[in-house]
């Protein structure tokens, strides 16, 4: 009801609208440069700038930026090592890029008037689908048809097979959906709530300090979630990679 009175102020969905900046068409395909693309580029450049700054003066005793770069490097390297082992080394550039990209997109999206790239299903599903296909191909390439044993855990009695195998297959197939929806829904929900609270502040006038306090708390929580969701996405990728490399669990 209040949305009808001030539609632009309270509408929490408006921030997710994709607007075209430079229209590009290849055949029938619309690949215009949009605000989403703009913030992908910004995130990428921010990450590159972050590492260029941190690695410009590589010294034994690091400065602050170098410490941040090395911390993120060792954080993801440890994650990959503990979850996948030494065989995961080859995938480190991908996993590291993935974490940094999602983390920066999430963080940049928290700045007012920006666009959250990871709040769109297309982006998160593109990642999740790539990981799903990559892990499946890798699993079959490394283990041949032995990879199918993943759907029938050892130690399960044979009469359980008709129940277990479909469950395992469904859970395997639902991985990309779960992975992408988790990230996208968290971003969508968090940013919508922030917008709604911000709307309340304006609507309530002086008493807007109450939702303002809530907004500050939620903003802190969202900052944490920006990291947490990037971490969850990355650790799940590591776990799927481990399943593909060592399927006998």
């Amino acid at each position: 009801m209040s949305a009808e009175k001030t539609p632009n102020l309270i509408d929490p969905i408006h921030q997710f609208v994709i607007t075209t900046i430079a229209p590009i068409k290849v055949g029938n395909l619309d690949i215009s440069f949009t605000n989403s693309s703009q913030f992908m580029v910004i995130a990428t450049i921010a990450i590159m700038f972050f590492f260029m700054l941190g690695l410009s003066k590589r010294s034994i005793i690091p400065n602050r930026f170098q410490i941040m770069c090395e911390l993120s490097y060792e954080f993801i390297a440890d994650l990959l090592r503990t979850n996948v082992g030494d065989q995961g080394r080859a995938f480190f550039p991908f996993v590291f890029s993935l974490f940094m990209f999602i983390f920066f997109c999430n963080l940049i999206g928290l700045i007012p008037y920006t666009f959250t790239v990871t709040s769109h299903f297309a982006v998160t599903f593109a990642f999740a689908g790539l990981i799903f296909i990559g892990v499946t191909v890798l699993g079959f390439a490394k283990n041949g048809f032995g990879y199918l044993k993943m759907f029938y855990p050892s130690g399960v009695p044979i009469y359980m097979a008709p129940i277990i195998i479909p469950i395992e297959i469904i859970s395997y197939l639902s991985r990309p959906v779960a992975l992408s929806v988790r990230l996208m829904a968290n971003m969508l929900a968090g940013h919508s709530i922030i917008k709604i609270f911000a709307g309340f502040i304006v609507m309530m006038g002086f008493f807007g300090v109450i939702p303002l306090a809530g907004l500050v708390a939620i903003y802190a929580l969202e900052t944490f979630i920006a990291f947490l969701q990037a971490y969850i996405f990355t650790i799940l990728t590591c776990i799927y990679l481990n399943d593909a490399l060592h399927p006998h669990h």
Binding site: T34, Y73, F101
Partner: protein
């Protein structure tokens, strides 16, 4: 907490999506399939660029930096360990030298002490003998003098006796007779 938040916001989102749909003529922007090719295309370009940057530039540099530091730290630790053992051996050497010189000093002390004691003893003996001979000499001289003096006194007394007797009696007293009166 998170799930409750997602639930609430989904409801709110759906509720406001209606008003949005009414005003804009569409559903959630996330469901607009027309925007998918553009998103995926630019995602491939940006993420591809990031991947190449990470793979070729950032990660090798990070790796060398971290490994160089690890090498340096372990090398420094090794050096420190080596220096520590060196210092220990030097300390042991020093202590051994100190004990040696202490022993040497003690032996030198005892040696010189016995030497000096012997010398003192010797000179003491010599002096004692000298003193004794001197004492003997002077004693004998004293005895001689005493005897001489006694003899002289005796002679003088006898003479005196003789002269006294002569004066009173006009008789000459023989020395032997006079001697009888001496004692």
């Amino acid at each position: 907490m998170n799930y409750i938040k997602v639930l609430i916001s989904t409801i709110l989102t759906l509720w406001s999506a209606n008003s949005f749909a009414a005003s804009q003529g569409g559903g959630l922007p996330q469901m607009d399939i027309g925007s998918y090719p553009s998103q995926i295309f630019w995602l491939i370009i940006t993420f591809g660029a990031l991947y190449v940057f990470m793979w070729k530039i950032a990660i090798p540099q990070l790796r060398t930096t971290v490994e160089e530091r690890k090498d340096k730290v372990s090398m420094d630790l090794n050096d420190a360990e080596q220096l520590k053992t060196e210092a220990k051996s030097i300390l042991e050497e020093y202590e051994a030298k100190i004990t040696n010189s202490n022993l040497e000093a003690a032996s030198i002390y005892t040696d010189s002490k016995t030497d000096i004691d012997k010398k003192i003893e010797l000179s003491k003996k010599e002096t004692d003998e000298k003193i004794r001979s001197l004492i003997d000499e002077s004693q004998s001289a004293l005895v001689k003098k005493e005897n001489d003096a006694v003899e002289e006194i005796e002679a003088k007394t006898i003479e005196t006796i003789q002269s006294i007797v002569e004066k009173f009696t006009d008789e000459k007293v023989v020395e032997e007779d006079a001697r009888k009166y001496l004692n």
